[in-house]
């Protein structure tokens, strides 16, 4: 209670005090624990400007329990001295005394006693002097009497080393009148209650002020995963741009759709066991669109559609091999093939889903990640159109400075890598890969010759890591996720925020 008896006494004392009073002195005066006065000071402080309290710390010397015993009974060496009768005492007997061990050596070094090792029944101890001054006891009694300052620095530190003295810091308050000082305090209400509202008593009651510096209580809530919040925004951007979502709910794909249909030759390094997860069961695709497969085979091995082809022995077994798709472009190939089976109408497609690579794992690479892909199919699309669409897409992500550089992709020609200047990282970063699908990929599907298909892709993880300032991908994706990070992550507003939060490294 803020208005406990100590608080009331304190206020009364303060009313008559000259300037202020010390909490420790008040405690001594009232004969209460110092802590009780401190409690009163704090509760009065909480009421506003009634009092002002300034924290002061003072140091003083106190005796330890052993020190108090010595101040009362004398030092160990003096007690040893006193216990030795004029005829001496057997050393073994002396050692059994409570102060024996410590006192014996100290008394020896003070040259108060001596040992006669030649005595008949073992060593005996004799007094050397008739009387002694117990300097240790005298000094401790001085400290006990509050006169520690009379001892020299060296003497105090010697006593402290013997664990007879300790220095204690006492925190006290210097209490003075506040701007709203009053000796009569009324109890303040903490909260508005239904009764106060119905009785109207709130009108007459003072309310305890809130501490607006304290944190609120976070609501109990569920949270969406940051990577998937970014996925939602990317979906939104594509939908705003009129792109239709492709089905991608097939992690298992045949080599045919994943590679061959994209005019990726069968000896291409990406088809190596080291880069791609192949399946043991089911090891092979059961059905392939054989008409189309033959056109693909011919294009690879002999050329056609204006192409020289790769001129190698294309094998159906290789195309049948099942794998975990290495890119969502396999789903784009299926969508374009479906598009080609009807009279042509322009199309804009997108997808965001998982892909799998049998790669070496590190802080930024996992065996599975999400790929974002956009595709536009229409008559007469140009490289300039591709760049124009990329500009609009990246502007929606808040990225306006773009630069394009030649790249190599087996299934796009021309190909371009997209770079953007990242204000936060202060460097050009690769933000995506793009190109125009090769005619050797499109024409065997049955798309008309003057239809071009432009496409681009990027990973979902990388922009998310940059956005949320995450350095290790395992903290973001997979079961080792840091749930606290999930709980704390802000809304995803791709175009509203300039860059990653400043970390210690960049600060």
């Amino acid at each position: 209670m803020a208005d406990g008896p100590v608080a009331e006494v304190l206020l009364r004392q303060l009313a008559t005090a000259d300037g202020g009073l010390d909490s420790a002195e008040l405690a001594a005066k009232l004969g209460v624990e110092h802590q009780a006065v401190v409690g009163a000071v704090k509760s009065l402080q909480a009421l506003g400007e009634i009092i002002e309290a300034e924290l002061r710390s003072t140091k003083r010397w106190e005796l330890t329990a052993e020190g108090e015993e010595i101040a009362r009974e004398g030092s160990h060496e003096a007690r040893v001295f006193r216990s030795i009768p004029p005829e001496g005492l057997a050393q073994s007997e002396l050692m059994r005394l409570p102060s024996g061990k410590v006192g014996f050596s100290k008394a020896m070094s003070n040259k108060w006693i001596r040992v006669d090792k030649s005595a008949a029944d073992g060593p005996r101890v004799f007094r050397v002097v008739d009387s002694v001054e117990d300097e240790v006891q005298r000094r401790l009694q001085l400290v006990q009497g509050g006169q520690a300052e009379k001892l020299g620095e060296k003497e105090r530190s010697e006593l402290r080393k013997r664990k007879l003295l300790t220095e204690v810091t006492l925190k006290t308050y210097w209490v003075s009148k506040g701007s709203a000082f009053s000796t009569s305090i009324s109890k303040q209400e903490t909260e508005l209650s239904p009764e106060m509202i119905s009785s109207g008593s709130w009108r007459d009651r003072p309310f305890k002020p809130y501490n607006f510096l304290a944190h609120g209580v976070l609501p109990d809530s569920g949270h969406l995963h940051p990577l998937l919040k970014v996925r939602t925004q990317f979906r939104q951007i594509f939908l705003e741009m009129g792109f239709t979502e492709m089905p991608t709910d097939n992690f298992i794909e045949s080599s045919f759709w994943n590679f061959d249909a994209l005019f990726q030759p069968q000896q291409h390094p990406a088809r190596d066991q080291h880069d791609t997860f192949f399946l043991r069961d089911p090891a092979e695709a059961l059905q392939l669109p054989m008409d189309y497969v033959h056109r693909v085979k011919r294009t690879h091995s002999q050329g056609g559609y204006g192409s020289q082809g790769y001129k190698y022995n294309w094998k159906l077994e290789e195309a049948r091999k099942n794998l975990l798709r290495t890119h969502t472009t396999s789903a784009s190939a299926r969508a374009l093939y479906r598009l080609a089976q009807k009279p042509f109408t322009p199309a804009k497609y997108f997808s965001i889903d998982r892909v799998f690579r049998n790669e070496t794992l590190d802080a930024t690479h996992l065996a599975e990640f999400h790929q974002i892909e956009g595709v536009v199919a229409d008559h007469g699309l140009t490289l300039g159109h591709l760049m124009g669409v990329l500009r609009e897409f990246f502007t929606k992500l808040g990225i306006t400075q773009l630069r394009f550089k030649p790249a190599y992709n087996p299934y796009t020609e021309p190909s371009m890598e997209v770079f953007s200047y990242h204000q936060g990282l202060r460097k050009w970063v690769e933000v995506g890969n793009s190109g125009i699908f090769r005619p050797e990929m499109l024409l065997p599907m049955g798309l008309p010759e003057n239809v071009s298909v432009i496409a681009w892709g990027l990973s979902l993880e990388r922009p998310t890591m940059i956005k949320y300032g995450i350095n290790n991908i395992r903290e973001l994706v997979g079961h080792k996720v840091n749930l606290q990070m999930v709980y704390d992550s802000p809304l995803c507003r791709l175009d509203a925020e300039p860059g990653p939060p400043r970390t210690q490294g960049t600060a």
Partner: protein
Amino acid sequence: MPDISYAWCKAVLKENAVYILLPFKLNKLKLAISFFFQLTKNLMNCVLNLVWNLMKLYDLLCLEGLVRGLQVFKERIKAPVYKRVTPNGEIQKLIITEETARIRPYAVAAVLRNIKFTKDRYDSFIELQEKLHQNICRKRALVAIGTHDLDTLSGPFTYTAKRPSDIKFKPLNKTKEYTACELMNIYKTDNHLKHYLHIIENKPLFPVIYDSNGVVLSMPPIINGNHSKITVNTRNVFIECTGTDFTKAKIVLDVIVTMFSEYCENPFMVEAAEVVFPNGKSYIFPELAYRKEIVRADLINKKVGIRETPENIAKLLTRMHLKSEVIGDGNQIEIEIPPTRADVIHACDIVEDAAIAYGYNNIQMALPKTYTIANQFPLNKLTELLRYDMAAAGFTEALTFALCSQEDIADKLGLDISATKAVHISNPKTAEFQVARTTLLPGLLKTIAANRKMPLPLKLFEISDIVVKDSSRDVGARNYRHLCAVYYNKNPGFEIIHGLLDRIMQLLNVPPGEKKGGYVIKASEGAAFFPGRCAEILARGQSIGKLGVLHPDVITKFELTMPCSSLEINIEPFL
């Protein structure tokens, strides 16, 4: 402006190697190039693009190619014409025997006559071979190159295959002879060569090339003989490429001879060699084939999105090593594709070169007028809606891996792997990637295990795909979209998971009750669940999943200590 010399290029590249490798240092490389070239901004963009484009071409893996590329681009020199010449004396012959058919059936060869190496040239020559081996040769699996001092040998040469114990020679940089069997053992510990051993290891016959005196030139694709080793002083080089891909072998040979014939007494002249195949047919190599393509200028303009005259386009292409001229009606461009440009196989490759020479960043951007109405994929649309309401119900979203160990989906859940219908990966590097998950539950339990320090209760969910075998699908497997939720606390909280199910059904507009279109839960069994604490969920007339309190064995196997209840359903019936 300095001359674009070999030495200059080497210096610039050395200085900027790091920038070329790390594209984000783009600005610094630009600065360096513009300083040396004193280029205008647009031209600088082109040169920069060119340098990168050159990096992708096989013939520009060496400085000779890069220097020549830049010189042609800057119109300092005309692209050289590479010629195959028949020697005045006897032509070098390589005879392939039929034993090679089963191991490494193709071989091609050529001679560089009166070449003059220097230390730099020699190093570059060796480096190019190594780069080709790593790159187009697919780590020597498709093609392996051997280069020899012709003056130490005497033709004709024989390319054959023999039992490893019957092959004995002194290999490169060794002082004594070894049999092929011994060599395979020695090279097991060789950091460089051990990567190639698997190509012929365990084959009954090994490929080998002999000269007419029985001297071993090489045992492809592993090692050359020491006898015919080339040095800086070698004047006549015999080059053989053996392989399993004929086209690639021919390209590799063309690349080497076009790059280094520059240092021959008659620059860019390559001496032919004859290769006799087992069927008796004989071919002359290198091919050094020039091909002509005719592409309409307006097609290039239309594909790139620029408006250049045919003459300008021809000029752009010529600078890219594709000698071009306007012919016919003035709109057609005839392009000569040299043997160094094996990457050009379609008109679209020519279009790209024109665009690169023009400079990607100089192309005017435009928006396509393609009018389309967007549709969401219905399954993803439903998923998105459910995710928000799961979070609103107080559950936090997890994102776990689709690949996992057999143990995760079987042993740890008290199941046998054969009961799971899981698809199996044939080449996992670790046990974490043995199978695709058949249930989302293990991922969520592992997420809890990694977050045990977080305050209880932990309420997690995930809506994502699982994979099972399905012979009705073209690939023999399919995904299902699952929703899984777990509650982890000091009490099992079955009522909370049950309440979540009721809420999900409410959201999906499925009423409780057995009548048509409704949902009920019925006591059931499940290996992962505590006996008597498991129920099957039946909705719209079909079983969609299970809920219940997890079995203590499951909790322990996932390194958890508290009771836990879970729910997992297939959401596809609600589309």
